[in-house]
C-alpha cells in the first residue's frame, strides 16, 4: 500500500532535527507539524511574519490578526516572535531557516521544482516558494508520485514553469523516499508494501544506484 497523506507527513517529520527553524508549505507539508517526534524541538516559521507557530485555535478563540501563510487561523506559543514580510524573507534569503518542506506539481532528476502555475489553466502564483527554495538550507518535497492519469510527476525534466532550478534535496512521495544525487535520483526507502519495481515503473526520472 502506498503511503497516504498522513503517512507521507509522518515520514517527512522524521527529517526534522532538534533545534531547527523550519518552514512548512501549504497542503500535506502543513500536516507534518502533527508528527514532530518527541524530544525534537523545532520552531516553525510562517513566512507572513512569525516564528513559533502554534496549533489551530479552539473554537471561538480565532483571531483575524493571527494567520499562517495558508491564511488559516492559528495560535502563538511562549517563544513566538512576529515581524514584517521584509524581515521574514531576510531570514529565509539569509540562510537562517534550516529546511523547507514543500508540495510539488513536478520534480526533475536534477532537483528542479515546479509548483506554482499551469500555463493557461491554473494561475496561483509562487507566493514565497521561490524565495524559500533559493534560501533555505535543505529542501524536501512531499508529493504524489503520479498524477490522476497515472503519469509520473518525477521527471527527467519539468514541463511546467520552474519554481527553482536544482533546489530539491529529497523527495518523499506516496511510494517512497528519493534523494537528488549526481546523475539522477537514488532510492532511499520504499513505502511499506511498495516494491522497487513499482516505484521504478512510476518514475520517469533516471534512477541511479
Amino acid at each position: 500500500m502506498p503511503w497516504d497523506r498522513n503517512q507521507m507527513a509522518a515520514r517527512a517529520a522524521q527529517e526534522l532535527q532538534d533545534g531547527w527553524y523550519v518552514n512548512l508549505g501549504i497542503g500535506i507539508p502543513t500536516l507534518v507539524s502533527n508528527y514532530i517526534p518527541e524530544g525534537v524541538n523545532v520552531t516553525l516559521q510562517s513566512e507572513n511574519g512569525m516564528l513559533g507557530m502554534g496549533p489551530f485555535p479552539f473554537e471561538g478563540e480565532e483571531d483575524a490578526d493571527l494567520i499562517n501563510a495558508g491564511k488559516q487561523t492559528i495560535t502563538e506559543l511562549p517563544q513566538t516572535a512576529y515581524f514584517d514580510s521584509a524581515q521574514s524573507f531576510a531570514m529565509i534569503r539569509g540562510g537562517k531557516i534550516a529546511m523547507a518542506i514543500l508540495g510539488a506539481m513536478e520534480v526533475s532528476e536534477a532537483g528542479d521544482l515546479a509548483n506554482w502555475m499551469i500555463p493557461g489553466k491554473l494561475v496561483k502564483g509562487m507566493g514565497g516558494a521561490m524565495d524559500l527554495v533559493a534560501g533555505v538550507g535543505r529542501v524536501v518535497v512531499v508529493m504524489d508520485h503520479t498524477n490522476k492519469a497515472g503519469e509520473s510527476k518525477v521527471l527527467k525534466a519539468c514541463t511546467l514553469p520552474l519554481t527553482g532550478k536544482a533546489v530539491v534535496n529529497r523527495i518523499i512521495s506516496n511510494l517512497g523516499v528519493l534523494d537528488v544525487v549526481p546523475g539522477g535520483l537514488k532510492i532511499v526507502e520504499l513505502a511499506d508494501g511498495v516494491t522497487e519495481a513499482e516505484l521504478r515503473a512510476a518514475t520517469e526520472a533516471t534512477l541511479v544506484n
Binding site: E47, F56, I67, A90, A134, G135
Partner: protein, 234 residues
C-alpha cells in the same frame, strides 16, 4: 501639524490620480487597509497599478477595486483565492507582474530605503529571471531586482499616536511596514489613535516619519480560512 484626518475620504484628498501606483499592506485579508480601499473605490480613480502580495477576495479588500475595474496592473506573489482576479488576468483585461513574495517585500523595503536595486538568488533559472541582469558573487548567480517607489502607500496598523508612530498586532504586520516606507505619501488606518506619550517608544514598530496621514475607524477584519480544533473533554 496634525497627521490625523476625520475619515478615509478626507485622508486621500489630493493624493489620488488616474494611472498612479499604490503600494498596499496586508497578507490575504489579514492587516489590509480596508477603509482606504473603500474610499479609493468611492473616488473612482482609474488605471491604478497596485503592488500588494494578494488582491483580496471577490467582495472584500483589493478585490473590490478589481470588480470596479479600477486596477490596470497588479504586482503580486499570489492570486489563488480570487476568481475574478484570475478571470481578468486570463482574459487579458488585467496586467499581472508576478513577484516572488520575498522579492516583493524587499523591493518595497529597498524603495523606501533609497536603494534602487539589489541582487537576489530568488528566481534564478525561472521565468522571473528573464530579461534581468545576472551577476555572480562568490560562485553563485543572482539577479537584479529594483526597488519600488509608489505614489501612495496605504497601510493598516493596530494603534498609532498622533505623530504617526505605528504599532502592529501579530501577523497583521506583514507587508504593512515595508509598504508604508516605499510611498511618496503614506496614509495609515488604525483601530485606535492613542494620546501622545501612551506608546512606549521602545515598542514602536514603524516610526512616524514614514506616515503622513492617519485615520482611525472600525474594521471588519474578515477571516479567510477559519480553522479550529475541538477542546478535548476532560
Amino acid at each position: 501639524m496634525s497627521k490625523t484626518y476625520p475619515d478615509a475620504r478626507a485622508a486621500l484628498e489630493g493624493v489620488l490620480f488616474d494611472g498612479m501606483t499604490i503600494a498596499a499592506g496586508g497578507f490575504g485579508l489579514c492587516g489590509i487597509p480596508e477603509l482606504l480601499i473603500n474610499a479609493i473605490r468611492d473616488a473612482g480613480t482609474k488605471d491604478i497599478t497596485i503592488a500588494s502580495n494578494n488582491c483580496g477576495v471577490d467582495d472584500f479588500g483589493l478585490g473590490i477595486l478589481l470588480k470596479t475595474r479600477q486596477i490596470r496592473k497588479m504586482i503580486s506573489s499570489y492570486v489563488g483565492e480570487n476568481a475574478e482576479f484570475m478571470r481578468q488576468y486570463l482574459s487579458g483585461e488585467l496586467e499581472l507582474e508576478f513577484n516572488p513574495q520575498g522579492t516583493l517585500a524587499e523591493r518595497m523595503r529597498a524603495g523606501g530605503a533609497g536603494i534602487p536595486g539589489f541582487y537576489t538568488a530568488t528566481g534564478v533559472g525561472t521565468v522571473i529571471a528573464e530579461g534581468k541582469d545576472h551577476k555572480d558573487f562568490n560562485g553563485r548567480t543572482y539577479i537584479l531586482e529594483t526597488g519600488i517607489v509608489a505614489d501612495l502607500s496605504i497601510v493598516k496598523a493596530w494603534k498609532a499616536d498622533p505623530s504617526g508612530n505605528l504599532v502592529f498586532r501579530k501577523t497583521a504586520r506583514n507587508f504593512n511596514a515595508p509598504a508604508a516606507t516605499c510611498g511618496k505619501i503614506c496614509v495609515a488606518e488604525v483601530e485606535e489613535i492613542v494620546p501622545l506619550g501612551s506608546l512606549d517608544p521602545d515598542h514602536i514598530h514603524l516610526p512616524g516619519i514614514y506616515v503622513h496621514r492617519l485615520i482611525q475607524g472600525p474594521h471588519e477584519k474578515r477571516i479567510e480560512q477559519r480553522t479550529v480544533r475541538k477542546k478535548e473533554s476532560v
